[in-house]
């Protein structure tokens, strides 16, 4: 008798601990979303001049890492009490996770095509192009293989890393190579532009096609080589607050901030071109 009651008690305890663990885990994972959604709904539903608060979660293309991190700090300084968290990665992977329901507020993609996969899924409306970016040949400091033009990449003994075609920098690279009539076999197709850049930085490849801004952000270890065909493969970067943004007010405010003259100045200084 006593043993059976004890057993039931243990079972109840176990169930309790389990559900507590589960709920804790759930709330932990969705913390920024849950916390900010409460503030967002009151803010958005309340007054038109909504005060931004809570956490703004920004999914941004890997190539935006340096400039957006800096801009996020400025945005936080201008809006006390707001925290901006970033998820940088290949645009397509980010778009995919947004479409799968990731709790993001803002999406900044490296190409209209990736943004389109989100807008097509009704995840966002009315994206705005905030910068443009062009490709550059990244070579290790000092340019040991003396690469001066796009066709030099196809030379024998030159190892090239490109982005995978699925991500915008890879699509742009294919366009540029086609425009230059250059046929090359890369040794690797990296999952995002920073991966391609790292392979150059480590000296594992002799060159890579990355964005001009990436070369600039890593100027201590990387040299950039301009090439005329890059003009044929300019990437527009669209930004949009997301339809299911847990923090709608924050999303709108951050997207607006990126289009502001202050943010544009910083982006241009980082090597981006104004749209």
């Amino acid at each position: 008798m006593t043993s059976s009651t004890r057993r039931t008690a243990v079972a109840a305890l176990a169930a309790l601990a389990l559900s507590a663990g589960l709920s804790a885990c759930g709330s932990d994972g969705a913390k920024p979303a849950a916390g900010s959604s409460a503030t967002a709904s009151t803010a958005a539903g309340g007054t038109a001049t909504a005060k931004v608060s809570g956490t703004v979660t920004v999914f941004a293309a890997a190539s935006l890492k340096e400039s957006f991190t800096a801009l996020g700090k400025k945005f936080e300084a201008a809006n006390p009490g707001v925290k901006v968290t970033f998820n940088f990665g290949g645009s397509s992977a980010l778009a995919q996770s947004i479409n799968s329901g990731a709790p993001a507020d803002v999406f900044a993609a490296a190409s209209p095509a990736t943004m389109k996969t989100v807008t097509d899924a009704k995840g966002a409306t009315d994206p705005k192009v905030f910068v443009r970016n062009t490709l550059e040949i990244a070579v290790p400091k000092g340019n040991p293989k003396h690469i001066a033009a796009l066709k030099d990449l196809a030379g024998s003994g030159v190892k090239v890393a490109l982005c995978a075609q699925q991500v915008p920098c890879g699509a742009a690279a294919v366009t540029a190579l086609k425009a230059g009539g250059v046929n090359l076999t890369p040794v690797t197709l990296e999952q995002d532009v920073k991966g391609a850049l790292t392979k150059v930085e480590l000296g594992e490849v002799d060159a890579s096609l990355v964005y001009r801004t990436d070369v600039k952000s890593d100027a201590a270890k990387i040299d950039g080589v301009d090439f005329p065909e890059a003009a044929k493969a300019v990437n527009d970067y669209p930004i949009a607050p997301l339809a299911k943004a847990p923090n709608a007010a924050g999303a709108a405010a951050f997207a607006a901030y990126i289009l502001s003259p202050e943010a544009q100045a910083l982006l241009t200084a980082a090597g981006f071109q104004a749209p």
């Binding site: 057993r7 079972a11 176990a14 995919q96 699925q166 480590l202 594992e204």
Partner: protein
């Protein structure tokens, strides 16, 4: 799929043979979490099957890239297991049968890749075996061998991550095997190497088998170290996990189709080896 057993089944059916491990009743405190655990492990796979694009599956799997990636995965995982066996069994023997200063430290170092994030392993491999790495630089200048972006790089990355599984398993088997058999062989005039080959190896064969299966499975699913160290190029270094990841960026249906193939292969292998090595003693 989940076979529920009524709470009060009496000990063994009168006709059926009594199996071990089945008590008079299963306490709910164990049954509930056990079923939850089972569901947790099985449901994601069910989800994969539910969302699978069955109608377009043949088209998705018709591309040569899929079979190229699968072939590469199988070849590399098998080669990595071979490397692990060749180096891992002697290493396990060293750890289990000899005494030397710092043995515990060596043991900890051997198991380090188990806890290390695979991407970190990949970076570490690049820094050592990459074209500018400590050893890689010499390989490149002396022999013109560069491991990154080459299929051999995939094998190395996979072996790095998978070998500890084999070493741990074989070491455990060695510790469980009675050393007196080896001593008896020695008294009969066998050298230590002969005793190892003729006595120890057959004794620990099941442990080696289990370790090899574990290592092979780990190598087959390897992603982080591979993409970091060996890169990603179809036919050269793009294994199934890499293909799945990149397909996921643009075409989730293709990613699901690829995942199904990998799942089917894994199940086939596990089923083929069932009871032989993977089951608990």
């Amino acid at each position: 799929m989940t076979q529920r057993r009524p709470g009060g089944v009496p000990v063994g059916q009168p006709v059926a043979p009594v199996r071990r491990g089945r008590g008079p009743r299963i306490p709910y405190a164990l049954l509930l979490p056990a079923l939850l655990g089972l569901a947790f492990l099985v449901l994601p796979l069910v989800g994969l099957l539910v969302r699978a694009p069955w109608s377009s599956l043949s088209g998705q799997l018709g591309s040569t890239e899929v079979w190229q990636a699968l072939r590469l995965s199988l070849v590399c995982a098998t080669a990595a297991t071979g490397v692990s066996l060749l180096l891992g069994v002697p290493l396990a023997w060293l750890l289990a049968r000899t005494e030397f200063p710092g043995r515990r430290l060596v043991r900890a170092l051997v198991t380090l890749p188990l806890v290390l994030p695979p991407v970190v392993g990949g970076v570490a491999l690049l820094l050592v075996l990459g074209r500018n790495g400590i050893i890689g630089r010499r390989l490149d200048s002396a022999f013109g061998i560069t491991l990154p972006f080459h299929t051999s790089g995939v094998v190395i990355a996979e072996a790095f991550v998978a070998m500890p599984f084999l070493v741990i398993s074989v070491e455990g088997a060695l510790r469980a095997a009675d050393p007196r058999y080896e001593e008896a062989a020695a008294t009969l005039g066998a050298s230590r190497l002969t005793a190892f080959r003729r006595v120890t190896l057959p004794l620990i064969a099941p442990g080696i088998g289990a370790g090899a299966v574990l290592a092979w499975a780990r190598a087959l699913g390897e992603f982080g170290a591979t993409i970091t160290f060996a890169g990603n190029f179809p036919g050269q270094t793009q294994t199934m996990p890499l293909a799945v990841y990149l397909a996921m960026e643009s075409d989730p249906e293709a990613a699901i189709a690829l995942s199904l193939v990998l799942l089917a292969v894994s199940i086939a292998v596990l089923a083929g080896l069932r009871e032989r090595w993977t089951s608990a003693p």
